[in-house]
Amino acid sequence: MSPGQPESTDVVGGTAAAAAAAQGLDARIAVRRGEFVLDVGLRVERGETVAVLGRSGAGKSTLLRALAGLLPIDEGRISLAGEVLDDPAERVFVPCERRPVGVVFQDYLLFPHLRARENVAFGLRARLGLRGKAARAQADTWLARFGVGELADRRPGALSGGQGQRVALARALATQPRLLLLDEPLAALDTTTRGEVRAFLRGVLPDLSAPVLIVTHDPVDAEVLADRTIALNAGRLVDLAGT
């Protein structure tokens, strides 16, 4: 039960650029929602962390939802590690639950009725097909890796913002995603915790083999956490001179 790559090993293009992108994310995304149009192309290599900077309403969450598979795109194509996830022209759409994409949501969305351990084990069961004890043991390992092993028995309501962030990251990474999406990872935190979590993320993110996409409105977070920053304005990417 490994993260599936069902229909497509044959879709990788012949060019060298496509071969390079085959390890990471290669997406051109067009989504229309009434008046609003999101139209972006982006590429994130394996091991690279890219920040998408934009004000609210710029289309950041639409982009994130499209990549996660929570929203089908209208035009374009999303491919990840050589696998096409969404291509309306080819009638390909891999639903969210079968995409090897991990998401850390802005306010974490840890299931309030489950303890931290069970929150992490949830994805291990659903995505990797682990069972009972094995899932729980591996969940504990992930929590320990992020320094929150002793909080495994707490429910999310009894975790601080920084602790919740770590549990949420453990939960997302435990499913062994090939792309990690972080939605405003620091917005829900107060200033003290912010610095601590920022340092923690800066230590963790470079070690991931998967490409990482951070969506944020804060240029400082983008600067500190990402290798590269792209800016999104009114649904389109804008040039950031000098970044």
């Binding site: 996660a68 639950e97 974490y108 969305l109 009725h113 949830f122 429910r155 499913t175």
Partner: protein, 315 residues
Amino acid sequence: MTSPGGTSLPWALPSRRQGPRGAARAVRRETRRRVPWALWVPAAVAVLFLLLPLVGLLIRTPWSGLPRLITEKSVRQALLLSLRTATEATALSLVFGIPLAWLLARTRFPGRTLLRALVTLPLVLPPVVGGVALLLALGRRGVLGERLDDWFGITLPFTSTGVVVAQTFVAMPFLVVSVEGALNSADRRYEDAAATLGADPWTTFRRVTVPLVAPAVAAGAALCWARALGEFGATITFAGNFPGSTQTMPLSVYLALESDPDAAIALSLVLLAVCVAVLVTLRANWLPGARRLGGARRLPRAGATRDIPADGDPR
């Protein structure tokens, strides 16, 4: 019946606290300062009106003869039948009602509003009418009942199963309405989160959606059970009044009132005690959990980022 933003039902559990505790307390103190007499007088009348009959029941209870009256075989029979059928009706309502509530709350299809109105009709329909309708549909000569009888030899009217059918018909809408309201106001992004973790829609429903509305399911089930326990009109119309098989507590109370008023009072007292016991158990077992869930569901904001929250995990 439900407003889009949340539950408008008087029995709906509060799904989240209004704000920090201090603020809530301040507001409460202020309202206590000056309650207009135009409000508290009618409220007091309402309380008297609601409590007086119960007091009357307690005053007139033949306490000395009580042990004999409530240990009679016919009473035990009726009580056990009532408890069994009400529990079965609640189980059926849970099995079929929760998916129906989910369908009404989570999907969009033409005629959904009409369907919701129709399935909640038994809430306002006189139960006797419900009983007549059940006879016409499931009776021995009924639209479906005739087939059931011919093809499978299944007869529903005037059987214990008929009692369960009548009670389910009348009580299930309570559960559906309660759960649907909770589903409408639940944060659907948890379901998105479950999907990103690889959970298919069925797993998400079982392990995220239903647990998140568990307090509403419990409240709905309690109402459903209480309604089924007290069901009279549809039961007597569809299932009849046979001691041992279809004579439930409410029916035997009504009959006893004509022959033996003391027995009727005693039976009523037993029903009252059962209902109070269930309410107390629910409060003790469910509502604290409901409150904790509701509290935890709030977004972690700047002010909430302390290491040991005041209302931390009670463990």
